[in-house]
Subunit: 339 residues, 2 copies
DNA sequence: AACGGCATAGACAACGTTGTCGTATCGTGG
DNA sequence: CCACGATACGACAACGTTGTCTATGCCGTT
């Protein structure tokens, strides 16, 4: 156990603890010689400041909470964590994760208590938690800083990071159109999920712009899980006039569509084009590879965490809202082709 | 922000702060009447102890670190987190995650610094981190408690939680045998991954027990990612005498095998049986559904975290090693059938 | 009535930092 | 060479808990 404290460093360096503190925190008012001597000693003895003492005194915890709810596979959450962790490590912060859907523990008392006890410096909220009014209210009541990733509404309420889901879905739909597809099916995400809604809207407007009426049965509900993609795909392919291309609102459901096609003996992309959204690990390993929209999830989380650490998200300045937009791109693989 | 402290409670209750502290920590030496009065006040004012002060004073951080490395998809890691979080919430702990493979940050300075600064009460280690001697050395040098999930060796080194991978793979292989399969292919996991090794051994011994020689080309390397399953499956199916069943060491690779089969126009399970290991989200949504071994990942992580909190894993008692075994079961779906 | 022992409670000093304020020391312009 | 403002540093009190030690009250025993 690291038993050496700031006092040990101060003694050995022949300075006061305050001077050591100044060196650690890169404050001014320390001569170059003294600074070097203290830094060497810190390095030599392997000293690390005690986080508890530091946060007790400074009222900062150096803890960032990442609040999420499991929707679909773990890929999204995993990428968020990777990105947030990168930003935390860089700034000397730690990352605590708070999940919001463990039965009975989640909302209300569970999260609230965790937040109160946690003393976070700030929170990164991901969809769909970032749009849950109840949860936002709890967080704001605690006076906590937060930055949202890909929120769906209340854009003035906090800083956020986003990518243009709607435009991406629009581009993807246009691409299918240009390949000659006219009957294009769409598999929707969960009803309360903002990204899912925007993707659907992108699809709708692209079709509308081209004067193509979207029959209601072309849009099939889903929940981002592969099974729902299988079922939805099955429904679409069972139509009297089945679509020649299916756009699933995420990759997992697109995988389900591939299964549905193979179940019916249809070959992709010859008989049916399939495209997804996310560019998760499945997209490149399926056969054929999945054409999909690459979403910079880790980068968005990283940017959000950075903003948080830089002090955006502070409740006192929340009106000074900031937004950062990141780019998507379409990754073409073998699952789509011209008609 | 919760600005009320133990002093406020003490004043209003007309007792000393120490008495309030005793109530909070459920210590003895407080009369029932006093206890009730203090508890009511705590409830009424919504008081929560300040974690920093508490840990500064008591030398416990109420923080559990979950150390992992991303291998394959996020499913394993996600399940681990869910389980560990359940145990943490129950005991009033928080969960900090530390990833070990972010390029350049990971091992060595990155992790070490994070551990030193983190002041964790204990660590939960998952494969393959739990078998990395370098990392174990760092952790032990810090004098930190830890419990391992599914370690591969050094069983006396710390408490651990495990399931019998070898027996499970053995059972699965026997099951394929009983269905009439003789040429059974196996797709291996990463070389340094203990679970992968044990699964392979289970497969080998089951075959050996039945007097079936395993040709070297029946075992194809993989890395737990779906793409490697596709490639390995392709290799196996391209053999002059291809296997009639393929056992992949995890579900992701089994998905790749399904793709490889559909690429060659083979139908599963008619032309080829495919089985996996993990029972992740893909297993039930592929078509056909994947026969696989259900692994209680979340439960193992939960048990490990519990043990940690209960004080196993303390370096002073590490020799008093404890192990908890959890059960697997085979989930039969449509991807395997008799020959 | 004096005593010992137990249950209950309080005083006070840690814990290891940061914040505030005060004080030497030094260079500089008049 | 003096006054003066920087610059560099230190003393000391927070921060909100827990741990240790001590004090009080009350009971049953002798």
């Amino acid at each position: 156990m690291s038993d050496i404290t700031i006092v040990d460093i101060a003694k050995q360096a022949g300075v006061s603890i305050k001077t050591v503190s100044r060196v650690i925190n890169r404050e001014e008012g320390v001569g170059p010689a003294t600074r070097a001597r203290v830094e060497d000693l810190i390095e030599k003895l392997g000293y690390r400041p005690n986080v508890s003492a530091r946060s007790l005194s400074s009222r900062r915890s150096y803890l960032i909470g990442v609040v999420f709810m499991r929707v679909g596979a773990y890929h999204y959450v995993g990428e968020v964590q990777v990105g947030a962790m990168r930003a935390c490590r860089r700034a000397g912060y730690h990352m605590v994760i708070e999940q919001v859907d463990d039965p009975g523990q989640a909302r209300g008392p569970g999260l609230e208590q965790a937040l109160k006890a946690g003393r976070f410096d700030g929170l990164v909220l991901t969809p769909p938690v970032c749009d849950d009014p109840e949860i936002l209210a709890i967080i704001e009541a605690q006076g906590l800083s937060y930055v949202r990733v890909a929120p769906d509404r209340d854009f003035g309420r906090s800083p956020y990071v986003f990518m243009d889901d709607q435009q991406a879905a629009h581009d993807m739909t246009a691409r299918l159109w240009d390949l000659g597809h006219r009957r294009i099916g769409f598999i929707d995400g969960p009803a309360d999920h903002g990204s899912a809604r925007r993707r659907r809207e992108g699809y709708m407007t692209a079709m509308a712009e081209r004067g193509q009426r979207v029959k209601p049965e072309w849009i099939s509900p889903g929940d981002f899980m592969p099974l729902s993609g299988l079922e939805a795909g099955d429904r679409l392919l069972g139509l009297p006039e089945p679509p020649t291309a299916i756009f699933a609102a995420n990759d997992s459901m697109a995988m389900g569509v591939l299964s549905a096609a193979s179940k019916r003996g249809l070959s992709v992309p010859t008989d049916l084009s399939v495209v997804g959204f996310d560019d998760g690990p499945l997209a490149e390993s399926s056969w054929p590879g999945l054409t999909t929209v690459h979403q910079p999830i880790a980068e968005m989380a990283e940017a959000a965490t950075e903003m948080l650490i830089e002090g955006f998200g502070d409740p006192r300045f929340r009106s000074r809202t900031a937004a950062r937009q990141l780019d998507y791109h379409i990754v073409e693989r073998g699952s789509s082709t011209s008609r």
